[in-house]
Symmetry: C2
Subunit: 235 residues, 2 copies
């Protein structure tokens, strides 16, 4: 009667915590909708490309983002939820982000692909650290930037070399992307109880207190500044 060893995989045990399961479904839904709208936006912004070669490069990024959606949907189904219902709560915030950050030209589009996706990836990676290993690996694989950073850095630096006046406008644009991302992240955090509870922790799961959340945002901001510096822009 004593010592019944639990042979189920750790992931299965953790999903018996209903609140945890719902939070993970929420998070996967947010990432999936983020990737889907990144696909749409990159495919759209590819039209601004100055050459066919650039267009193919950006279209390739779009396709790769779309390629992650299927795996995220599969995982949501495995957790007993409908992927479309899981994505729905994040449509308004993510669409609103894109409406408020429609690039005016190819360079703003490149900065957005580079800085915007970098920000989103940092944020999800921070949250993923609090998850079971399987979910964490899936999310981190979905956030792989598939070479867009290298492509964007090269093109933006070149553009600023060619026309130094561009740097003022693009620096401003980078700050606007950051501000808009934070605004939308706050909306989501305020509305999605399960996600907020996830960050607060649970039985057998460490959580974040306010100070830790503050440190998390400091790290995200620092990484944003590093990215801006990488392309030669002040944050």
């Amino acid at each position: 009667m004593t010592e019944s060893r639990d042979d189920r995989p750790a992931a299965q045990v953790v999903f018996e915590d209903e609140e945890y399961r719902l939070a993970v479904i929420d998070l996967l839904g947010a990432v999936a909708y983020g990737e889907l709208s990144a696909f749409e936006r990159l495919a759209d912004d590819a039209k601004l490309a100055p050459t066919m070669r650039d267009k193919v490069e950006m279209s390739g990024m779009a396709s790769l983002e779309f390629g992650h959606v299927g795996r995220l949907h599969d995982r949501i189904r495995e957790l007993g939820a409908d992927p479309f219902e899981a994505m729905a709560p994040f449509e308004a915030a993510i669409d609103s982000f894109h409406v408020h950050t429609a690039p005016a030209d190819w360079y703003e589009g490149l900065i957005k692909a580079y800085v915007g996706d970098g920000l989103a990836a940092d944020f999800y990676r921070e949250i993923a650290a609090y998850l079971d290993a399987e979910t964490r690996d899936l999310i981190i694989a979905s956030l792989d930037d598939s070479g867009q950073a290298v492509f964007a850095v090269r093109h933006i630096r070149q553009a600023i070399d060619d026309d130094p006046k561009l740097s003022g406008r693009l620096a401003l644009w980078g700050r606007r992307l950051m501000g808009e991302a934070l605004t939308q992240a706050q909306h989501v955090a305020a509305e999605r109880d399960a996600l907020s509870a996830l960050l607060a922790g649970g039985i057998d799961r460490p959580g974040l207190d306010l100070a830790a959340i503050g440190r998390m945002f400091t790290r995200i901001t620092e990484r944003h500044n590093e990215r801006m510096a990488e392309v030669g822009l002040s944050a």
Copy 2:
């Protein structure tokens, strides 16, 4: 001194015919640009989707079309040409096709995905029959419609069941797609000597006389009519 057997692969021998090599590069360039613009158009038309599920379905088709571009480019490079230079001669005709056939709503977009891509695939398959086996297989693999026919047929039939008045407008739209495709195909045929020469045949390669070209267009038209009938529309 007699009987020196030629151990080189057949594909290598046929590419020693410079005119043939140029024609194949032309054809691969046309298919590659066609796939690239199909990607752009499907990604755009996905915005017209009535539900998120439909949007994901059409975005998935877009991504798959893009997935073919890389292999076609690789093959063009193997044949000693630049893929972007190979695509360039077909931009005007293919872009013009899309400008003249911008769908007004989701259903026109579905018909275009189904009928337009079906037409292009039939045409390239007809030409591929005159090519070496390796090129033929690559082209046929690139034209795999990846489930969009099934998806389109189901949705269009349902839409016409729900609103029979739709069938008149969509039948007209199907004829317009056919007419526009033929117009642009004629422009290409008139301008691209290498492609026309390919159809006319060469040493060791059978060609098409005028009667055979006539029969080819009859087959393409018949298949178009079958596709229209499949969704319940008169051609």
